[in-house]
């Protein structure tokens, strides 16, 4: 018999896991096309949260006006990341160079460095302070059912993740640019010979991926209420773990793996002091790499 205590602990796990999933979506999309990890994605998430904060405090915008602002800033930042940390390493457009190990490693480091630069700038401007989103913007109303207490913000995180995933699947399968993205990701040379502009597709991937990352930052900051310059760091590492466990290129896989990590952390937290649960995700990563190197939801190579 599962009591309410265990159920609500698991519910918290699902809702925390959703925050990993929502960030993992953008990270996985970029990996799928370029086979490269964009470690600046954590800062995209942070930028989304800071844009929300600035929109709510300095600009005093209503919530409906903050959403397009976050989308715009996220897209612009994604474009910037591609220009600064990825394009310079794509001098040759043959598949072997594009997906070569050297380029992958270089972009891993360049995106990590870019992320650090952004974080340092935010740290200097805002002194690394915890900043609060004004109360009236927060999605903090309690929602309870069957003895389980959640907040409106957590439901929003869940809903937004599902909507994001659905929109992305629609875009990838039903729109021209989506089909181009899939073509590039499955056979780069073939796509190039069919007249697809690779650079344009890559830029589109960064814009869409970062837009989703910024929205993730917005929703999570509205749910928890606090914003800080290095908030993206922990989350991007968890999202990275979710991406690997989910099979590196599978979007639904990354979402499910994110939730699994959250639930595993919550389950461990029932038996262990909560400070110890941080290692659960990394232990899961290790186990996945050892026993299921393709991840839980690996796609067959096209």
């Amino acid at each position: 018999m599962i009591d309410t205590f265990v159920l609500s602990q698991l519910a918290i796990g699902v809702s925390v896991g959703m925050t990993y999933s929502i960030v993992a979506i953008g990270l996985t999309l970029i990996y799928r096309v370029l086979s490269a990890v964009n470690f600046a994605h954590g800062e995209v998430y942070t930028i989304g949260a800071f844009t929300t904060l600035i929109g709510a405090t300095a600009l005093k915008l209503p919530l409906w006006a903050i959403v397009p602002l976050v989308l715009l800033v996220g897209a612009a930042f994604g474009w910037g990341i591609e220009r600064a940390a990825f394009r310079p390493f794509r001098k040759f457009t043959d598949e072997a160079s594009l997906k070569s190990r050297a380029v992958r490693e270089a972009t891993l480091l360049s995106s990590f460095a870019l992320g650090l630069v952004v974080r340092e700038i935010l740290d200097q401007v805002y002194h690394g302070e915890w900043l609060a989103i004004p109360q009236e913007y927060l999605l903090s109303n309690p929602v309870s059912f069957g003895g389980i207490h959640l907040s409106a913000g957590e439901l929003a995180i869940g809903v937004v993740s599902v909507v994001m995933l659905a929109c992305l699947q629609f875009m990838l399968h039903r729109t021209r640019i989506g089909i181009a993205i899939r073509a590039v990701s499955s056979n780069l040379i073939g796509a190039q010979f069919s007249g697809i502009d690779i650079n344009r597709v890559v830029v589109a991937v960064f814009i869409v991926g970062s837009l989703l990352g910024a929205v993730a930052g917005m929703v999570v900051s509205l749910a928890y209420g606090n914003v800080q310059s290095f908030m993206g760091l922990t989350v991007v590492i968890k999202a990275f773990v979710a991406m690997v466990i989910g099979g590196l290129t599978s979007l639904p896989g990354a979402v499910i793996a994110g939730i699994l990590i959250g639930v595993a952390e919550a389950t461990a937290g029932i038996f262990l002091p909560s400070a110890w649960t941080e290692m659960v995700a990394y232990a899961m990563l290790l186990l996945t790499l050892l026993f299921l190197p393709q991840g839980l939801f690996a796609r067959r190579r096209a």
Binding site: G13, D123, W130, Q135, I270, P273, A275
Partner: protein, 373 residues
Amino acid sequence: MKHAFLSSVLAAAALSLGSSVVHAQAKEVKFGCYAPMTGQLAIFGKSMQSGFDMAIDDFQKSPQSKGLKFSIQCEDDQGRADDGINLARKFVEDNSVLAVLGSWSSTVTLAAAPVYNEGKLVNITPISSHPDVTKVGPYVFRQSLVQSQEGAFNGASLWKLGARNIAMLGIPNDYGKANMALTKRSFEAQGGKVVFEEFVRTDAQDFRQTLQKAARENPDWIYIGAFAPQTALMLKQLRQMGMKTPVYVCAADDTPDLARLAGSDAIEGTHVTVQTNPVLGPELADFYKRYEARYNRLPDPFAANSYNTAMMMMTMVAQQYPNVTRESIRKGLDDIRVFDGIFGKLKYDPASREWEFKLLHGVIENGTAKVTN
């Protein structure tokens, strides 16, 4: 060649050691300071700097200053022990620095203090309250409350409020560990029982799992020994989960930042140990008024303590002038018995090397603590 260079360096060092540290002609006095100016604890480092800046301006206007020009050079330790140690080495080597104030976090002060002690440069912290700070050595001082003092007060206060079975949540750094252990010791000595105890991560956003585990043990009170960023999130999430258990928070949370981060609704009715409050005396009430006029926000205990300590240090230098050295500062701090500042006449006990701060119990109303006793 190498020897020639070495001996000239030694000669220069010997010369500089012999000279007085105050530049007699310019009448300039420089203190060093290490504090978290960036990173998670930056809000508190900024409070310290505000207190120092205001103290310098106030003191230089008074005739006591004898026309001396004071400065406090604040360097960023980011709340990290290794940065604190590096800054300590830098200040010890810099002969223009007369004494050093800092840090905020006990962890950093405990790491850097041995370097100051070995370098025979006075380090006085206006904030760090871990019991071991003043035990590092004769050059390490503090002018703040001590965790043993706060822990004893917290335990007694909880008992007096009717708490019998409490859940305790804290952060796993030197401050949190000492605060939790000493509060627990005092509460248990009264006959109380701790039914749940857990340390949370300072980089976490979601504390509901821990809060729920605490609630399962049916505590009649919850005690939180954490800094404002974590306490704010915990209080907010307690409200969200519909938990009505009364909460008591440590003295470090008596800061306007708690209301700023949690919103005043979430902290309404929270009990807190108060070290700085305008009701404590006319000097402090006056300080509150002037601080608010200058910075457009209320001071926290860290700004008040930093102000008071900086005033004491400047007063001492001015009294000793012109024969001020690093060593005379240490002697001055050893010999002091009472300092009359914004906390009124604060007493120093040379045996324990601690100051006797008064602690009070408060309840938060409209975002600020109202003292009850």
